[in-house]
């Protein structure tokens, strides 16, 4: 008979919780969401022995049960809801040994909640290096909880922790916090009515009822009525409670610390800080790092991307040669497979970007970036913590928007989410590449810089400026009087743990594949249907029309087929829509062919390239020089000159820089903001801005 226990890992941020989680679960981990809220839920399985399986839940880092952010709120909720599905059988409190005081606040709260807890003292190696020495047995008896030393980074002490988890675990007999006698009657009434197991649990409900979604309306009313009667308002006793707890903790620490840390031990961190937050060197280093990330995304990712592109093309080809033809086959070869290919192609860039972000976070440098950028970002209604999500936006808006969850202030978070899609993501790059090659001459400026490269950089910069200006405007329009905070720990610098970096890459890539993937795939299939079907008569007659049109022209079968494909696309539903919107996009310099490409871009922007290739009878090529040559030779029937004049090219570049053309982003924004209001405003604003600016550019240049 296999036994299964539920274990929750908790502790303050930077205590090494994630390292321990990775050590315990390895690759057996899943990231999902807590129901109803957008907080990452990381769970994994760990085999404690042949008969016992532990389901490990990695809770978001928090200093106490009184939450400051969405992430922290979930921790209070998990521990307060004994009947909830996430309520653990056992809790492991991960503590940073070099900084026990702050780690033990939560521990004393868990003790008062009567939740069976094991303390894992992490980073013992760093503590040893600092010259610190503590009496672990005394700690265990003073707190009345089992205590183990671990080194989660090196995997030491993990076996011992697993053994402890197998043993029966009693709750601590200590009572740290004495509830104020004037509200004790209310605490007792709630405890009796809801049949709770500890006074402190009842006290928590009284103090933070608004945070707990598991309470029924009736229970909530009961508690609210009681708190009115006893004049309890949220946070009334919180300060006193914290002081009392820290008093207890200090007493314990005075007894257990045999030798305290040498204050010089983290001298290195202070020296590095002087460099990394220096007014000149700090920014120089930060921008060099950004430049390095940028370079890597573009150059390193190219090889795997070409490979993926090639593989999916040959898979499509293989299938078309080996499967019986028919509508189902067509959908597979031209709808589903390219759709999946369109998702997979972004994985290298996303993986590389998150590798860098994970390394910067692991080393502790990211906190310094937040520190360095906070004042500047605040001028624009953002926050130092907006920097990482905005940077992630260069790879893909989906993980970037999800990365905003660490921003405590709702207003700052909303503004960050709103402007992220202006950051030029990987899907825009293929579109930029082809259009820039078309309208910007391939020459060197000032001897070294390639003009095309400069133009590309300019587009990225333009997106970034749009993000800042929009954020600034939103700050003024929203005018919310919500205080935002930056009380943030500056962790000690250390070498990154590479396996943690690896897990982050896997986690973020998975998020992208599942979140963006399902929408991209669905939209690809819909668009494929729109582009392959149309009013019957015209679609069926495609081949005859093309053949009669080309009598005596001596064309190869391929050329005929490509022309048939173009003809079909023109007369498909997508073609009809493209022609339908032609009057609207004409002021921007586009015709219906470009219109079709704009519509299909809604699956993912890079589909533009493939659609353009089909519509201009190139077959399904993605060869840039071929497409470029074809576009250059296209004639505008109205003017007799080239179709893709610089005016049209720049107008399109501007449109793609600003327009909201990504269905997956809208879906994620809807989920994170919990309403359609913001994604719809975003869609209208960004597309409106794109239209206006593209119009101006086209009118000026033509």
């Amino acid at each position: 008979m296999e036994r299964k226990i539920k274990v929750a890992l908790t502790g303050k941020p930077n205590s090494g919780k994630s390292s321990l989680f990775n050590q315990l679960t390895g690759l057996n981990q899943k990231v999902g969401n807590f129901p109803g809220v957008t907080v990452d839920k990381r769970t994994g399985m760990c085999e404690l022995d042949e008969n016992t399986l532990a389901q490990i839940l990695d809770l978001p880092g928090t200093y106490s049960l009184y939450p400051r952010s969405l992430d922290e709120k979930i921790v209070a909720e998990v521990f307060a809801d004994r009947k909830g599905i996430y309520f653990p059988d056992k809790v492991v409190l991960v503590a940073d040994t070099t900084n026990l005081k702050n780690c033990f606040l939560l521990l004393t709260q868990l003790i008062d909640l009567k939740i069976p807890t094991i303390v894992a003292l992490n980073m013992v190696d760093v503590a040893a290096k600092s010259g610190m020495s503590i009496d672990i047995k005394l700690l265990s008896s003073l707190m009345d909880v089992p205590v183990v030393f671990i080194n989660a980074r090196k995997g030491q002490g993990i076996e011992k922790l697993k053994k402890l988890l197998l043993l029966p675990l009693k709750v601590s007999e200590r009572k740290v916090f004495a509830i104020d006698s004037e509200i004790m009657p209310a605490v007792n009434e709630i405890k009796d009515k809801l049949q709770l197991s500890s006074d402190y649990e009842s006290y928590q409900l009284l103090q933070q009822r608004d945070h707990f979604n598991f309470l029924t309306a009736e229970q909530k009313k009961f508690i609210v009525d009681l708190s009115k009667e006893y004049k309890v308002f949220p946070g009334k006793y919180q300060g006193a409670e914290t002081i009392l707890r820290y008093g207890f903790i200090q007493e314990v620490l005075n007894k257990i610390i045999i030798r305290s840390a040498n204050p010089e031990w983290n001298k290195m961190t202070h020296q590095l800080d002087r460099l990394f937050t220096h007014k000149i060197w700090g920014y120089t280093i930060f921008f060099t790092v950004l430049f390095l990330i940028f370079q890597s995304i573009f150059t390193l990712a190219q090889i795997p991307m070409d490979f993926i592109d090639g593989s999916f093309a040959s898979l499509s080809n293989y299938l078309s040669n080996h499967l019986p033809h028919g509508p189902l086959f067509e959908m597979l070869a031209s709808g589903i497979i390219p759709g999946i290919g369109g998702i997979v192609i972004f994985i290298p860039q996303i993986a590389i970007l998150f590798a860098f972000i994970a390394i910067l976070e692991e080393t502790g440098y990211m906190a310094r970036v937040v520190f360095l950028m906070d004042k500047i970002m605040r001028q624009f209604g953002l926050n130092g913590k907006s920097v990482v999500p905005l940077m992630s936006g260069w790879a893909c808006a989906i993980p970037a928007i999800m990365a905003t969850r660490t921003i405590e202030s709702w207003k700052d978070r909303l503004i960050t989410i709103f402007v992220i899609p202006f950051m030029s993501c990987s899907a825009r790059l293929p579109v930029f590449a082809i259009l820039v090659a078309l309208v910007v001459p391939d020459v060197k400026v000032i001897g070294i810089f390639n003009l095309q490269g400069v133009a590309l950089m300019g587009l990225y910069l333009l997106g970034f400026v749009a993000a800042l200006v929009t954020a600034w405007a939103m700050k003024i329009i929203l005018n919310v009087k919500e205080r935002s905070f930056l009380i943030m720990e500056m962790p000690t610098y250390r070498m990154p743990k590479w396996s943690n970096v690896g897990y982050t890459i896997i986690e973020k890539t998975k998020t992208f594949v599942y979140e963006a993937g399902k929408v991209i795939l669905a939209v690809s299939i819909i668009l494929w249907v729109l582009a392959s079907y149309g009013p019957k008569d015209e679609m069926n007659g495609a081949k005859e029309v093309i053949q009669t049109r080309n009598i005596g022209m001596n064309l190869s079968t391929d050329e005929i087929n490509n022309q048939v494909a173009a003809y079909k696309l023109e007369h498909s539903y997508a073609g009809i829509i493209g022609k339908g919107i032609e009057p609207i996009i004409k002021p921007l310099g586009y015709d219906w062919k470009i219109g079709i490409a704009l519509i299909t871009s809604f699956a993912a922007r890079e589909v533009f390239v493939g659609t353009i290739a089909t519509i201009y009878s190139l077959g399904s090529t993605n060869e840039q020089p071929t497409i470029k040559a074809r576009l250059q030779s296209e004639i505008n029937p109205l003017t007799g000159g080239p179709r893709f004049t610089p005016a049209v090219g720049f107008s399109l570049l501007i449109f793609y820089t600003f327009a909201m053309q990504c269905a997956s982003t809208l879906a994620v924004v809807k989920r994170e903001t919990k309403s359609w209001k913001w994604p719809l405003i975003q869609l209208a604003y960004m597309t409106g801005l794109a239209y206006g600016l593209a119009f101006i550019i086209f009118q000026i240049l033509s």
Binding site: N99, G239, Y283, E489
Partner: protein, 77 residues
């Protein structure tokens, strides 16, 4: 004689002081939880290039604070 309370925002890099209290209830609960306890010593480490935020050491670790937050912490030194 009325002396204006000195706060963490008035401190200079390298300076140390003892925390005596807070002038804002809303932030004080958060600061308390992070280890800003009355009676504890606090060290002003350095400030960001534009003077805000600042980095302080308290209760054995380094933290960043905005000046808006630092100004509510009264000190003696």
């Amino acid at each position: 004689m009325v002396v204006k309370n000195k706060t963490v925002a008035d401190m200079k890099p390298g300076e140390t002081a003892i925390i005596v209290g807070f002038s804002d209830d809303q932030i004080s609960v958060k600061l308390l939880e992070m280890g800003f306890l009355p009676g504890t010593s606090i060290r002003f480490n350095f400030k960001a290039p534009f003077g805000d935020p600042i980095c302080v050491s308290v209760s054995g670790y380094d933290l960043s604070l905005r000046l808006d937050e630092a100004i509510v912490i009264s000190i003696l030194n």
